[in-house]
């Protein structure tokens, strides 16, 4: 699975995700990537999110929208919401994976509870960052 999230100079957020699914999948199995609110979500009031991992868990936990709601209704920061959902709630759920997220002022969070996540990010004209492991 691959994904991207962005905040542009007009203050608009956007998110996108694409995947080939799981090797050897059958029965038309679909994961979270095409599901708005589970694998992909963007809302100018809160954040933009793209997820990757074990789709069944991300669907059942409605991960992307869950983080947006925690920010909108509970007033959590992007960091607090991401840490809670990815490092606590999903882990208890048994859902391995991670996500990339950006909020309305450009903060970037890249939480994951697996051993690694291919990720890269940049803010304004700061140097680009690329990482695989924690």
């Amino acid at each position: 699975t691959v994904g991207a999230v962005a905040l542009d100079s007009y203050g608009n957020l956007a998110a996108a995700t694409s995947t080939g699914g799981m090797t050897n999948k059958r029965f038309g199995r679909v994961g979270d990537s095409p599901m708005i609110g589970a694998g992909t979500y963007a809302n100018n009031n809160t954040c933009a999110i793209s997820c990757t991992g074990h789709g069944e868990y991300f669907i059942r936990a409605v991960v992307a929208y869950d983080i947006s709601c925690l920010m909108e209704y509970k007033g959590l920061s992007l960091k607090e919401a991401c840490e809670y959902v990815v490092k606590d709630k999903l882990v208890k759920f048994g859902g391995e994976g991670g996500l990339i997220a950006i909020d309305t002022v450009g903060n970037i969070e890249l939480p994951f509870n697996s051993e690694g996540m291919y990720r890269a990010w940049v803010k304004n004209n700061e140097p680009m960052q690329i990482a695989i492991y924690k």
Partner: protein
């Protein structure tokens, strides 16, 4: 100076350091930096976040090592079934597609679904029919063939298991459904 923030991912999982040669790591990082640069250039030039995420994901779809587009894994039938979605934070409009084959960039189809279909989520062969009416680029099965993905499939194709992209774990499904 235009202010923007931008992030991309290429999947998460059990990425075993023992299997990651320095050469392979450099190749993965090249794929990530290329996609990041494409999106960043759009944002630096005052382009929209929607254009940036679509262009970056399309670049990752064209890169054979990530599980999307050209690098998509094999299904049990030896085909490729791809999913994609995109969402605009300003309008809350979204486009999504699932279970399509032979489409070079599913994220571009997702964007067209958002803007031209009057729907949010299309799937399967009928989504491919819509894609053809919109001039979306199709490729042959050979385009989606990589030796690594083929071997990954060969390892599990005669079993009831399936495998996430970056994982050494084979799943059977019982655990997940409790």
């Amino acid at each position: 100076m235009k202010k923007f923030s931008f992030a991309i991912h290429g999947g998460a999982g059990t990425i075993l350091p023992s299997l990651m040669t320095a050469e392979k790591e450099a190749t993965y990082k090249l794929g990530l930096s290329t996609a990041l640069s494409i999106g960043t250039a759009i944002l630096q030039n005052g382009g929209s976040s929607l254009d940036a995420v679509e262009a970056a994901v399309a670049s990752l779809e064209d890169f054979p090592l990530f599980n999307a587009g050209k690098g998509a894994v094999f299904t049990n039938k030896g085909t490729h079934e791809m999913d994609a979605s995109i969402m605009d934070g300003k309008t809350l409009e979204a486009g999504a597609v699932s279970g399509v084959s032979k489409i070079r960039n599913p994220i571009k189809l997702a964007r067209i679904i958002k803007e031209k279909s009057g729907h949010v989520f299309l799937c399967g062969s009928e989504a491919e029919v819509f894609a053809k009416t919109q001039g979306v680029l199709f490729e042959t099965d050979d385009y989606f063939y990589t030796e690594e993905r083929y071997q990954q499939w060969q390892d599990v194709k005669h079993t009831d298991t399936y495998q996430m992209d970056h994982s050494d774990k084979l799943e059977t499904g019982e655990k997940k459904f409790g």
